[in-house]
Symmetry: D2
Subunit: 346 residues, 4 copies
Amino acid sequence: MKALMYHGPRDIRHGSMADPGLHAPGDAIVRVSACSICGSDLHIWHGHGFSDDIGFCVGHEAVGEVVEVGRAVTRLRAGDRVMLPAAVGCGACAPCLRGQVFACENGGAACYGLSARLQGVQAEAVRVPAADMNAGRIPDGISDEAALMLTDAMATAWFGVRQADVVPGSGVAVIGLGPIGLMAVDAAWVMGAHVVYAIDPVPERRAVAAATGAIALHPDQALDTIREDTRGRKLDGVIEAVGADATVDLALRLVRARGTVSVIGVQQSRRYAFPLERAFAAGLTFRTGTCSVPEELPALIPLVRSGRLRPDRHVSHHLPLSAGAEAYRLFDAREAGTLKVVLTPD
Amino acid sequence: MKALMYHGPRDIRHGSMADPGLHAPGDAIVRVSACSICGSDLHIWHGHGFSDDIGFCVGHEAVGEVVEVGRAVTRLRAGDRVMLPAAVGCGACAPCLRGQVFACENGGAACYGLSARLQGVQAEAVRVPAADMNAGRIPDGISDEAALMLTDAMATAWFGVRQADVVPGSGVAVIGLGPIGLMAVDAAWVMGAHVVYAIDPVPERRAVAAATGAIALHPDQALDTIREDTRGRKLDGVIEAVGADATVDLALRLVRARGTVSVIGVQQSRRYAFPLERAFAAGLTFRTGTCSVPEELPALIPLVRSGRLRPDRHVSHHLPLSAGAEAYRLFDAREAGTLKVVLTPD
Amino acid sequence: MKALMYHGPRDIRHGSMADPGLHAPGDAIVRVSACSICGSDLHIWHGHGFSDDIGFCVGHEAVGEVVEVGRAVTRLRAGDRVMLPAAVGCGACAPCLRGQVFACENGGAACYGLSARLQGVQAEAVRVPAADMNAGRIPDGISDEAALMLTDAMATAWFGVRQADVVPGSGVAVIGLGPIGLMAVDAAWVMGAHVVYAIDPVPERRAVAAATGAIALHPDQALDTIREDTRGRKLDGVIEAVGADATVDLALRLVRARGTVSVIGVQQSRRYAFPLERAFAAGLTFRTGTCSVPEELPALIPLVRSGRLRPDRHVSHHLPLSAGAEAYRLFDAREAGTLKVVLTPD
Amino acid sequence: MKALMYHGPRDIRHGSMADPGLHAPGDAIVRVSACSICGSDLHIWHGHGFSDDIGFCVGHEAVGEVVEVGRAVTRLRAGDRVMLPAAVGCGACAPCLRGQVFACENGGAACYGLSARLQGVQAEAVRVPAADMNAGRIPDGISDEAALMLTDAMATAWFGVRQADVVPGSGVAVIGLGPIGLMAVDAAWVMGAHVVYAIDPVPERRAVAAATGAIALHPDQALDTIREDTRGRKLDGVIEAVGADATVDLALRLVRARGTVSVIGVQQSRRYAFPLERAFAAGLTFRTGTCSVPEELPALIPLVRSGRLRPDRHVSHHLPLSAGAEAYRLFDAREAGTLKVVLTPD
């Protein structure tokens, strides 16, 4: 089959690889009908990847159709339209049964497309382990493209805002307006924020947030403006959706005493210089982590179905899978107007 | 001064009464600039009042200006624009300091205008006991009329939805679309409901709710429609904003297993026939009670200031205080289009 | 095999019935090593049962050993020591995967031993449907008898105290000191109650509670004593573990303004005369329902393993299964000293 | 009057200073009957103080008797026995009214005895600003010495365990077994921990914790032992009660995926090397801050009154105030057996 594979820094290419097959009785094979590129895929593209492997298939956001199931699969059958949460678990331990794949007690937690261990989904087809738990039928009333956004980006955004302890009436900031940040802005509104500050250096991204009613700010203005607007009190919850020390620093400056910072950008600092004295004086809560997608779906599915959340509106480009190399370059350029890029097997 | 006074069933009249004076060092006198009629005022008007007193001033929703303060008042001064929460507390015990006036430990909890004990606010002026705690300056950016809605109706609606355990993604119903019910619809959206069913026999009231995106239903259709829409699962939270046994019954039928019913309509049943066997089988939570207004304000003030909640849009009539008798008749008729009636001292 | 079967009011007898067999690929057969009698079994014994069936096997609390599994069972194998939560679910829907069997979305929720639909466990063996989800291996460090208490009584007690919103520092009452009530007393201490009032007419039962530090009261004294001890404030949370209108009434009188009543005794009133006016004035929360046992186990297992909870100390009698008829009479007599009765297949 | 005053590093001496007087109408003067030394006082003693002032009175834990009140004080009168929470607020803003003095919106938050701005309480008398809010009558049934522990140490310990998201069934560790750490062990039991690991290099301190049922460990053993005991899962909540980078590091290693670290030791690191990559992978919550004592008292007072918490058992020494210099040296030596040191004006 055809797939996008990692061959080294800045070298992800469309090529041929072996078709996936069933390895275990709980596996299923899913023919991918659409997949998308996530900001964290750029970590791989830039070569500071999560393994030393070469030649593996990348990507972790996909929807498609079940084409084959192992004999232990009971909840899916060939022909089912499914969405594939970005990470899988063993599917059998208590946390996995609750959807908390990243708390899998059997060491089964893995994200697609980070190494050869679990091939990615930017391909014509993919093997899904423990498919009864790790693939979900696309609910009635949800489009394939909205479902694709639920496999990672929208769920991570939602998780990030929840983790910031946002409640009705909160004042909120979102730092970083890539697709996840923009969906976090949407999530903050749904959770009852009275104000959302949307912070990013790119004017076009700020404009998307501003159109929702958010107050859009360049990072350089953020601290002064927010301090003034709130008369020094600052914000209840701040979401960092970048993954850099400087934006974590900014988040810790924008939050009020006793407020919460939620860091969802992929973090690779081993010794981040945390302002502990200041955090102690202010009584802060600092949370970071990765979303276990299935855990967020019970709240998200009705909100997407009813149209209160429309994550698919953040799709900016549709390209064939064969244009994957170009798509990565495009996405990495963070050009004005490039948000979510959806790839379709040809 | 002039005031609206209760003289017996269906006999509330504009007349003269003594000007209020300071009784205690913590009192303040507030000149009323606007007051409004609440659904619970109709209980008095209908004569099944809360005391046997005659000739007392009615009403519990008002804003105005401080004109005199006792010597122990430290947080207010003459000239301050204030809003008066519908009920007062002693202002000194721990619950009162947290704004939970109905949990006052010194027996100080009282609503304005229910008896001669604490004269009402549908008057040219009113005495406010423990004024430091029981009157609040109108925050910048909030109009007098929005503040007037915060003294009871909007706060009670908000409390009612909170008490129904509504969270982002919930399915919600509001039974009874008087002003409080309509504000509860607004509150449910802000708290993240994915759907709000708005139930009332009056088409015009349903139309107001439907304009927010709610699904408006006649009570007779409600159970069948909701059962079908939800494939039998029913709703996470149901708010009863009427105060009748039949609507409490309906609420208990619309809620899902393990869901919550929140009853905020004024209840006068001493032996309501509660379906205990069914509630036990379904694992329900049933909550009822009165809002302690100041407790809700920290969340509401930023939401009203930012325009996410616009409770003043439910004001349908402005009349002079001298037209009070007519205003009560009008409000009691529950005519199409009559929602919140605001009275202004002439 | 031998089993206890219901033949009519006050007629539960030891007799022979067909051995259980696998009906579905997810079933397992468990050889019962110990089972116990629950207060709710007495509802059946008294004939106001939950069906019109005759001749079915009763009982819903058991531990034992897996002897056979269907081909779709993946998490259990013959020889496993297991505990059987009192009720089962479909084992496949999202609530079941989280352990919330009574919210099963496929209509699969059923308690053992209420009718011929799902035979009871007071027998030499039992069929367990969807066994991967509905049977759990007994964790290391937990005795069989403690595990037997976790299949219903201790879990229901724990659930009941949680549902009363008990937090560290709460004042609590438990009404009804059968085994579940006594375990609720234990649970309230573990959850941080500063005081626990234990209320029952039987002095010996009160003595068991008093030995934990609880204040033991006869129901006739309860209201006056608690009012006086708390200077009229009354209690934060009250648990009703009887299932009678009079004790629900008492619970609603013992709770403070804004407190919570949790009703876990099996309720069969269709029109309980609920004091709605008083509940409205006091702002009460009223919760009732049945425990989904697996949902409570993640908290309970470490507490039982570490010895902070010792539910097996409430076992008062060990009898052979063949003495079942006598055991029911004994338990129904509520004699001094009769608490949990454990039956062992001969 | 006589008082303990700071004259430079390791130089806190008993000497004479001016009697305190009323500065504002809300002030009260309290004659100190007992005060105690807190671990954070040692920061001052060691000279890395919180100001450059010299000659100010130190200490922030005291109980005593009101001897004089300003004319705006309404809730206290001369003769009242009071406890003085370690920090004060303006007493008028909403957070202060709720007891959250460290969120004071008027810049009024201050701890006694850190500088000349607010003189300390290790003295014969002390001025209490906004005394209606900042001094509390000692509740009936609570000894003066227990009340003294509630002014800071016990409240901070309680806050620290709450901030670690400890719930019934949690596995907990407390790092640092000074008086606050030992009280945190007590608090963790009351909040329902199933296991408490108590970690400190001093054997005698470990022995005090072990006597409560805690598992006492030297810091060097902690990680290996806890990993093994929990089969690699580690602990739900970890409380750091030291205030050093190494113990914060240890806390972050002992907590499970998705668990919470609560840092209550006084932190002075400006650039703590936070393991952000690991925290992100594990999905941690990291909380730090200072206790607002009055906020914790509603839960603590009934627990201390009922004897479920006995903070006064951690008092190891009683000395006259005049022996203050010696008391500081003694406390700083962290000798076996030195826990809480209570000083009594002569």
